[in-house]
């Protein structure tokens, strides 16, 4: 049991980073289709089962993995050429290691941290490895011996370096507010309430939240800051010369970086794994009531979802009857979950610690996927910034704003503490 609890955050890190990439690709396409008023990929199927189109992105992943590895003959520095995608992948994967997925769990007097690395470095660790990710881009562009690649990697590097400044400074104001660098303590802080609102970072520090979210978009080279791979100007930027899984690593690295910044935004500004107004202790104390609420919620949402599936899943495919299978699976799963939950809710067993932990995982996941949706939403709504506009926004607007924000935050924090 204790080994499992130590390994659990590591497994969750793998799930949230690697395993969500196909789902993110699917979300990207379907949300893009939603915004552009079309359907997106929904025909790919395994014997009639389409899973809303997720099968398509699994097929794409398989294609990338099994494609022939090809090394362009003009590459002189094979080592750097091959090292670049792995550096990009590794550093974006490592940034995920400090995100807390739930509060510390205490079972039999033993406390387990629910972050993959039990360290208090928190945001500093994130900054360190987000900064190292630049080397993948620099090396990839440099070793490709291609003008477009060099241009793309120079744009990306300049952008990441200049936005790191504003990002770090907006983090400083959050550090002053929370008084700690440990991400878990920050989330615990956010379980308090601020007048009638939950004391989430986005309510305490709206300006820092906006600056951080904008810089996070720029750090991950996502639209509207994706001039580094602007296809109308420089083909594909720094990964022009890459193919098969070497390209796949860059591609996955970009999505993991996006997921990691989303997770950090959730942790810093949206209360992390907390439900508003409810601290971990409240949840544990009123666990049975919480369970009854979850049971009602599960029943209502699955019924609504079933009605939605019946109404919209009208495409007739060869093979199995999709709607019928979904109905069976959803009804069966919901019934099973309700039976298990009522067993504990009626007081036959005590699983409040583990139950609250699972609830917090779920809350974190929901918030994280909302952030993913936001990233995709912005990508398909805003046009790409011109390169000089990107730099101007970073240095002339975000940097002074974050400095002013630090100044104001420091005055307020000192004033509040002076009053006490």
């Amino acid at each position: 049991m204790s080994t499992f609890l130590i390994l659990l955050p590591l497994i969750l890190t793998l799930l949230f980073s690697l395993a969500t990439v196909p789902i993110l690709v699917w979300m990207e396409r379907r949300v893009a289709a939603l915004i552009q008023d079309r359907l997106g990929p929904n025909r790919c199927n395994v014997n009639g089962i389409r899973l809303g189109g997720i099968v398509q992105s699994v097929a794409d992943m398989m294609k990338l993995v099994f494609k022939e590895e090809f090394l362009p003959s003009h590459i002189k520095n094979k080592f750097y050429y091959l090292a670049a995608p792995s550096i990009a992948f590794m550093s974006s994967f490592l940034t995920f290691m400090v995100i807390p997925y739930a509060d510390n769990v205490t079972i039999n007097e033993q406390t387990f941290t629910m972050q993959a690395l039990p360290t208090d470095l928190g945001v500093l660790w994130f900054l360190a490895f987000a900064g190292l990710g630049v080397y993948g881009i620099i090396l990839g562009g440099w070793a490709s011996h291609n003008k477009y690649a060099i241009l793309g990697s120079m744009r990306a590097t300049a952008q990441v370096i200049s936005y790191e400044v504003a990002m770090g400074l907006s983090l400083v104001s959050m550090l002053i507010t929370y008084g700690t660098i440990s991400l878990n303590e920050m989330v615990t802080y956010q379980s308090q309430s601020f007048f009638i609102f939950p004391a989430w970072g986005i309510i305490l520090q709206p300006l820092a939240a906006i600056i951080f979210i904008v810089t996070a978009f720029a750090e991950t080279n996502r639209a509207p800051f994706d001039a580094a791979e602007g296809e109308s100007e420089i083909v594909a930027g720094y990964h022009t010369e890459y193919g098969a899984m070497k390209f796949g690593l860059f591609f996955v690295a970009e999505y993991i970086a996006m997921a990691a910044s989303g997770a950090l935004i959730v942790t810093l500004f949206l209360g992390g794994y907390q439900l508003p107004y409810l601290s971990t202790q409240d949840l544990i104390n009123h666990f049975e009531l919480v369970l009854w609420l979850i049971i009602t919620f599960a029943a209502v949402t699955s019924l609504l979802f079933l009605a939605w599936v019946k109404k919209h899943n009208i495409l007739v495919m060869n093979g199995l009857n999709e709607t019928k299978i979904y109905t069976t699976v959803i009804v069966g799963f919901t019934l099973f979950a309700i039976i298990v939950m009522s067993y504990y809710a009626l007081g036959f067993g005590n699983a409040s610690t583990v139950g609250v932990m699972l609830l917090q995982f779920a809350v974190f996941t929901v918030k994280l996927f909302f952030l993913h949706f936001l990233f995709i939403w912005v990508r398909w709504t805003l046009p790409r910034f011109r390169y000089d506009q990107t730099q101007k926004l970073g240095w002339n607007i975000l940097l002074p704003l974050s400095l002013v924000n630090i100044f104001i935050t420091a005055i307020v924090v000192v004033g509040v503490n002076y009053g006490n």
Binding site: Y80, T119, D120, L121, L124, W125, L127, A128, F129, G131, L132, V134, Y135, I138, L139, G141, W142, I150, S153, M154, T157, A158, I161, E164, I181
Partner: protein
């Protein structure tokens, strides 16, 4: 035991990569092996629980300064034929290393007698963020502020010098 093995590996990596850094022919090789040196030194900090030093070493040196240096190397676009002809490089390296051997022996002897080597690091808090902050802002507050003014002067100097050209 575990720590000694890790220390030996990391020390070996940092020594080898720093030798590569000074002896490499192309500037990009030097810069990249310097990154390896910095990261392995950061790992050495982590080995003695100096978490803040570890992370700051990576953020500032490996993350910020070296990426600027690489950026400039990329801008210069140095071709192989533009690099200086280093025909006698190995002889130079050998000669200088023979000359500095006695000095380095003295240095090693001094380090072995120093306070930290004799009474190994026992303080758990060494290099954590609280410890570093408290030391900087109480004991060394004046030098700290002076250094920050110096950095500000250098920054403004760089800006004015670059403005003059335009």
């Amino acid at each position: 035991m575990q720590n000694e093995v890790l220390f030996a590996i990391l020390a070996l990596i940092s020594i080898v990569s720093s030798i590569v850094m000074i002896s490499a022919h192309r500037p990009i090789d030097s810069a990249l092996s310097f990154i390896v040196t910095l990261i392995s030194i950061a790992a050495l900090f982590a080995l003695v629980n100096a978490t803040f030093l570890f992370v700051v070493q990576i953020i500032i040196y490996a993350g910020a300064i070296l990426s600027l240096i690489l950026f400039i190397i990329m801008f210069l676009n140095i071709k192989d034929e533009n690099l200086p002809d280093e025909k006698y490089k190995n002889r130079w390296l050998l000669g200088t290393s023979i000359i500095i051997t006695p000095f380095s022996l003295i240095l090693i002897d001094l380090i072995l007698r120093s306070d930290i080597a004799v009474h190994a690091l026992r303080d758990e808090k060494f290099g954590t963020i609280k410890d570093v902050g408290a030391t900087l802002f109480s004991q060394w507050i004046l030098p700290f502020e002076l250094v920050s003014i110096l950095l500000l002067v250098a920054l403004i100097g760089a800006v004015t010098l670059s403005k003059k050209e335009a």
